[in-house]
Amino acid sequence: MAAEVSEKKLEEKKSRVVILVALVGIFVAVNIYLFAAGRLPSNFEGLGIMIAAGLSLAIYSFLYRDNPIYKFAEHIYIGLSVGYIIVYNYYNALKPNLLDKLFFPPPGERAELWLIVPLFFGILMFFRFSPKHAWVSRWSFAFIVGYGSGMAIPRGVKTMIFAQMEATLRPIEFFDMYGNFNFTAIATLIAIVGILAVLIYFFFSLEHKGPLKVASRVGVWFIMIAFGAQFGYTVMARMSLLIERIRFLLGDWLNVLRS
């Protein structure tokens, strides 16, 4: 029985390898045709489109099942992303803010010696590699956490509390300047009720019973509406990405879309 099962698995594996090889073969054949027919330019741009199409298809192959082609593309993606972050950080943070100002100042300008402080905190980070002296890196983390916390308090209070409350507490105008009823006022009232209800839902210092229970139930409804709206919005954003990728594959790569 066990031998039969393993034989079946081996057969499955073989058929998967055949499918993968066939797909790669089809991809190569299609590209040879595209280049030969002049549908893809014979330059780095054309090569880039071909590779981009191949990697996109490799990632979409996950829709069939987890497979080596998908894993290959996934690991390339991880490597490239990290490589990009390293280079981006070096040329946009480390070089202009530290190296150019401390070690290689422009001619006629003096080195900004106070930059030794962040350099010092940065180097302390490397003590993480030594189990015995890892505690030294706490100084760097203390800087980052202290700086972040200090920034968060005034900004959080201003933008996320005061600005939001101000927008909520604006006077509601039920009639416009011509005396006509302003229907937006009802929507604003609904929003105010929603804000209070959701706040009550998250207020745990009092037991939710009686009027508080009713209010918190209304709060749940508003939260569900918000989650539904956010979900719908996210789905549509992903759909836009998918449509763009399909447009790329059919248009830029296969050249079968009419402009």
């Binding site: 490597g79 890892a134 929507a187 992903r238």
Partner: protein
Amino acid sequence: MVFWKRTVPLALAFFFGVLMVVQYFIPHKSFAELLDTMARWGQIVGAFALVVGLSSLIHSHVFKIKRQVPGWGYSVVTLAALVIYTVVGFISEGDDSPEAAFGWGYHHLLMPMQASMFSLLAFFIASAAYKAFRARTLEATVLLIIAVIVMLGRVPIGSYVYEKLPQVAEWIFSYPNMAARRAIMLGVALAMVATSLRVIVGIERSYLGGGD
């Protein structure tokens, strides 16, 4: 030793925390410059933190390759992609225009893969939605209906179903959705301020890690 291990980091967090709070309330040029300086310091220290993260990634993959754990070949792919793209980036001096090799890699490798990876979620999000939104309760039904309205309201077919559907979706976004989000934001802000205060005054010490 406790002084260096615990008191100094707590004092540093307190000093920089109070400094950043105080600078906000002093409308003077020198404090505006201080804010700019501190932001750059943050970027510099953050860049060093990246090296620590990078070493962890490399260590993990080198470990897999050394031990030849199943799938170790993919670790070779990751490290090769990382090293090659980083070297190309430094040779191109970080130029991410499509004409430079680094930019070519960004436009023809990284961006397409990123877009494909995220668009892949369009398929899984649909199946997840089916599982999550099966109208078992009244609240789940509300969530489902609103999601459908918003989705239909953002594509042309929505107007064919009901011509005012885009406006309805917009109204949902602007009022009930905004109400819940605003209330949640208020709660988040209060929690953020409380946590920040705890860090500054030294009550919250989890960033010190374990040990002494």
